[in-house]
Each structure stands twice: as structure tokens, then as C-alpha cells.
Subunit: 262 residues, 2 copies
């Protein structure tokens, strides 16, 4: 088995489910610390700041520093900045997105935007969507933090950012650039931040269509766990399989230990 120099680790379904830690999560992270292996948490969640996410992880007993958290909002802000410094941005989203855009010194505007960006916004309203459509029709580039169609909650599956994004794309006929998993944009930026080449990093996640596909598209090896959305049975006929499959992260630690002893 290949020895990886670093890890990219999904959060929802891999480290936690709602407010609960997933079994093996903290032990896995402790293992990486012990082995001095750098890692980064990688989430499509655009609503929270890296501080809020690190705090949540620590609160449920998974060690994390804010600089070890990489969100679709950070990747989106960095991507916009790389396209045009100090760009004018009309943004629909929550605190995590606004925070990331400000960190990149982007100018938040209501009209005359260079970019329209949308992330999940539970305070969405018609006026925000109308402004976004008007700006996109006026030539602003259209960016979406991620294409997730649904968010699991205690009530069931409610609309994700990909569903909200469709209001603008359907109305204007302009397809956005999606930044989050499974798109390569977030992956290349996360790898750059981690400081390793794609060949040396393992992508860990529970969602075949986002985490595993993102890793594959980025040319990385992937580890799929069965603690979240996708099941091995569901994906057994897929042409492209994850490099590794483990029921949970306990099994992955066992496998690493077994490999080490040999």
C-alpha cells in the first residue's frame, strides 16, 4: 500500500453527522497527528467560517485548527481573486461566504458587479435572485460555491445550493462555474494549500458523487467510507471505483497499522 504524505478529509458524513461525531473520526485524526501527517478538512459547506467549523470539530472531540479547514467559500473567494484582484462581487450567501470574500479584499456590491456568486442562503428572497439575474444578464461572471442539490436535516432533504443556483441559471440561460466538490477547482486549491502533489495525497469521504469523484477528477487516490451517504452496494457497478473502501475510519487505521507491521 502506498504511503501518503497528506490527507484531504471530508466533514459531513465522514467526521460528523449533524451534531454527532462519527465513530473512528477522532481516532483517525489522532493517528495522523501521531504520524505527523499533514491533513486538511475539505467541505462544500459555504455557510460557516473556518473558525466556526474548527470550533464545531473541537467541540465534538475532533482536533482541528481553523487553518486546517478549507471550504467552498474560501476556494470561491480565492478563485475570484485569481481572476481579478479587488473584483466587484454581488454575493448571495451566509456568513462563511461573506467572510471569505472580505478576507480576499473583494468589494461587495449590489450592482455593476464583475462576479455574481451564490452559496447556500437560508435568508434567500426574490430581490436577491432578481439582482443576481440582472447582473448576470449585464455580463457579470456567474460562480456557484457548489452544486449540492439537497441538504440532509432532521426534517428530511431540503434544498441545497445547487437547487438555489438553478433559479439564476434557468432564468438567464447562463451556466455557472461551480467551485466545490466534485469540481477540480476546490481540489487544486486545497492541494496547493496543503503543499503536496496530488500523487502524495489521499482524498477521504463518504459521498461518491462529490468526494470520491472530486478526488478522481483531481488525479488523486481516494478512500470511501460507508459512514455517510453512499453505500458500497450502490456504487458496485460504477466504472470508476475508489482506490480504497473501508466501512469506517477504524478499519482504515487497522489497515495502516497492519501495513506498517509487515
Amino acid at each position: 500500500m502506498k504511503e501518503y504524505k497528506g490527507y484531504l478529509i471530508d466533514l459531513d458524513g465522514t467526521m460528523y453527522k449533524g451534531a454527532e461525531r462519527i465513530e473512528g473520526a477522532s481516532e483517525f485524526v489522532d493517528h495522523l497527528k501521531k504520524k505527523d501527517l499533514p491533513f486538511m478538512y475539505l467541505t462544500n459547506n459555504s455557510s460557516k467560517t473556518v473558525d466556526q467549523i474548527a470550533e464545531k470539530l473541537n467541540h465534538i472531540g475532533v482536533r482541528a485548527k481553523p487553518e486546517q479547514v478549507y471550504t467552498s467559500s474560501l476556494a470561491t473567494a480565492e478563485y475570484i481573486s485569481s481572476q481579478k484582484e479587488k473584483a466587484r462581487v454581488f454575493a448571495i450567501g451566509e456568513e462563511g461566504l461573506y467572510d471569505a470574500l472580505r478576507q480576499e479584499s473583494l468589494e461587495l456590491v449590489q450592482e455593476g458587479a464583475d462576479f455574481v456568486v451564490i452559496g447556500i442562503d437560508r435568508e434567500i428572497n426574490y430581490e436577491k435572485l432578481a439582482l443576481a439575474c440582472l447582473e448576470v444578464r449585464n455580463g457579470a461572471a456567474f460562480i456557484s460555491t457548489n452544486g449540492d442539490i439537497a441538504i440532509p436535516t432532521e426534517r428530511g432533504l431540503v434544498p441545497g445550493n445547487g437547487a438555489l443556483t438553478s433559479v439564476i441559471s434557468v432564468s438567464t440561460g447562463v451556466e455557472p462555474v461551480f467551485v466545490g466538490k466534485p469540481e477540480p477547482l476546490i481540489m487544486s486549491r486545497a492541494l496547493k494549500r496543503l503543499g503536496y502533489h496530488k500523487e502524495d495525497v489521499l482524498m477521504v469521504g463518504d459521498n461518491y458523487n462529490t468526494d470520491i469523484k472530486a478526488g478522481m477528477t483531481a488525479g488523486m487516490d481516494t478512500l470511501m467510507v460507508e459512514t455517510g451517504l453512499s453505500t458500497f452496494d450502490e456504487i458496485k457497478d460504477k466504472e470508476h471505483q475508489p482506490t480504497y473502501k473501508c466501512r469506517d475510519l477504524f478499519h482504515w487505521i487497522e489497515r495502516l497499522n497492519f501495513h506498517e507491521k509487515k
Copy 2:
């Protein structure tokens, strides 16, 4: 030229544009009155009640009674009622839709719905969209008053109901039944209300993709005017052409008069 026994007449782009009457509109309606030809105004607009629309028409000098107005909301409510009497409906929309649903004695509910219906709602919010998705995922039939992707305003094109509808269809993977033009549902109900067979009624409108297509799909003859959205140049290569094309309704009256004199 065929003599039609009745007319279905589009509103926006045919009778008025925003708050302004389109030239030839009132003269055309007066002509129909004089000839004792029954007609019905047919609009995808689901937001207003038939009383409000009739009032607007009279206000700008186009004669109209509420019973001569047929909206996508009326057609939607009647369609639901035909599927299940006194059905439980979770509705997103404005006054015109709620009014139509109540007229059909449908029960408005927040959960346990038989039908989820969406019409344009300028007070849209995340909770309404979330409830709609939860109900559709729980098995409610999904209906949309119309698929218009954009609404023309003084500011430009803002999202139409087709764009809002996509939040629910993208998130749940369930495609709605669309009721409004160009779909046949609204046409068959309008014809029934007018009391004539499709062969005897002319569909008049400015929008090739809604009005004219609706007429064609319903097997009716169509008259396209150039006072609204579509131009004759734009549609010149379409396989299916309107039965008649007239720059405006003055030209149509002239044509009728000329035909009569022969």
C-alpha cells in the same frame, strides 16, 4: 380566410406592455364585440385574480369582464380539482393562485399535501421551498402554474415562475406538471370554458414559444402579432409557422374587413 367563432387572446405583449395599452388592442376587442364574437383573455400570469386583471384592462381602455379572463392559476386549480376533489394543497404563490385554489374548495395545508403547487411568488423564501421539497419527496404530486423563465420589468428580466420551480425539481429530481402556455392543459380548459371546438377558435399572441406553440399543440389556428416579445425575423426558419402573422391588431382588423367586403 376561415371565419372563427371565438378567440383566445394573450395579454402581456398583445393587449398591454407593463401599464400601457398596445396599439390596436381596444379596437380589436371592440370589433369582436360588434361582431358578437365570444373571446377569452388567456394569461400565464398566476399572481393576479381575474377581478384584478379585468380591472387593469378596463383601466387602460380594453373592455373586459372577470369571467372573460382565464389565468394559469384558474387552470391549475381546476386541474387539481379534476384529479382529486377537495385535495390538500401546499401552495407557493401570490393572491391570484390562492384565490383560484379557494374557489375550487381545495384545502390549503402546510404538510400532508396531496399536491404541491408553485406560481410566481415575490415573497418566496427558503422555508417555503424547503416545505415544498419535503412534501414532494413525501409523495405529493408536483404542479407548476407555468414555466416562464423570466418576467420583463423596467429593470430588465427578473426570474419567472419556471426559474423558481427549478429549485424544487432540481432538488427532488421530480419534474412538475406545467399547466400554463405552451402546455395543452390550460388550452383545453380555456376552450371548454369558451364553449367552442379548437377548430373554431383562433389563438392570438406575441410570444412564439408560449402563445403560438400552445395554440399549435392544441390543434388551433394561430395569429402572431409583433407587438411584444417575438419578431417575424426570429421565427422565419421555424418549421411550424403561425397560421397568420400581423404586425399589430390594426392590421388584423383591416384584414377581417377586407375579407368581409370580398
